[in-house]
């Protein structure tokens, strides 16, 4: 492996920090562009959705348990359960499903 893992980590850390620090230090007033504001508003939801599916199907031993976890997670989040509880419910569903499937 020619690429150095510590270089990877430093790049990740540098970009993560730059994203957080630049607006906070540079922006002293409201962003005006309506397109930019809308774009920035949609980005987090779009990127998280794209990352979730179909990747969740490959995260488990059996794609069906991943699909069930997805359904349970959507339902739990819909009911307004927080980050932590939704995550635990997804894990529980996979654990239960794979006792039957695998």
């Amino acid at each position: 492996m020619s690429d150095n893992i510590y270089v990877y980590i430093l790049i990740m850390a540098g970009v993560s920090y730059a994203i957080r620090v630049l607006p906070l230090t540079l922006i002293r007033r409201q962003i005006r562009s309506r397109f930019l504001r809308s774009f920035l508003y949609y980005v987090p939801y779009v990127t998280l959705s794209v990352m979730t599916f179909p990747a969740i199907l490959k995260a488990t031993q059996h794609p069906v348990s991943g699909l069930l976890a997805l359904a349970a997670g959507i339902l739990a989040a819909w009911k307004g359960l927080g980050l932590f509880r939704v995550a635990v419910i997804c894990c529980g569903v996979v654990l239960a499903a794979e006792f039957l499937l695998v």
């Binding site: 690429d3 990877y8 980590i9 790049i11 990740m12 850390a13 540098g14 970009v15 993560s16 920090y17 994203i19 957080r20 620090v21 630049l22 607006p23 906070l24 230090t25 922006i27 002293r28 309506r34 397109f35 504001r37 809308s38 774009f39 920035l40 508003y41 949609y42 980005v43 987090p44 939801y45 779009v46 990127t47 998280l48 959705s49 794209v50 990352m51 979730t52 599916f53 179909p54 969740i56 995260a59 488990t60 031993q61 348990s65 997805l70 997670g73 959507i74 989040a77 819909w78 307004g80 980050l83 932590f84 939704v86 995550a87 635990v88 894990c91 529980g92 996979v94 654990l95 794979e98």
Partner: protein, 245 residues
Amino acid sequence: MRRKRTELAAADDRRAFGEGMRDGVPIGLGYLAVSFSLGIAARSVGMTPGQSFLASLLCNASAGEYAGFTSIGAHAAYLEIALVTLVANARYLLMSCAMSQRMRPGISPVHRLCMAFDITDELFAIAISRPGYLNPWYTYGAVLTAAPCWAVGTALGTMAGNLLPLRLVSALGVALYGMFLAVIIPPAQKDRVVAGLVPLCFLLSFGAAAAPVLRELSEGTRIILLTVAVSSGAALLFPRSEEEA
């Protein structure tokens, strides 16, 4: 008179610091559990516990680190991992923008530099929910309790990943996706555009993973392309009004 005011401000800061530490406890406990599955992801791409600990300590991001680890596993180019991290963490850019509107005028730039370090969904939420200007000491208190949990949990996940039975690893592996769902679903209930975007993204992402040409690209590149394309389209077709955006 002046001295008196400084003392009052100092007492205020001390109280805010204590409150921050207290509010950081439940967040830290959640982090411990969720970062465990992140540690498993790090392990699956061949990282050591020390490396995943370092990554979590410096990056403080679930989706961003996960996307980064995926790229590491794929031996991605350095530019690609930078772009992937940028896209996966784009929401922190928004949160930082929001925080910039709530800083006390004339606050030391050092506070701005330090407060930016650990802007996460949860720490942003508790800081911004307090009335008035943001007190940096509240944030420092919360970070001091929550951030170590995040790093330690990641390292434990990387260490214990092979001690745990395969079933448990498989189950914990979906914790991150559960977290993502907890972030995207509640706004989808309030906003019709987001409600339409979530299934659309699932569909496009599923299609792109199977489509010719697109499937040859790395997962990270597909995420960037889809995010920019879908978000731009949504911003053009459904621009947010001044009050909403």
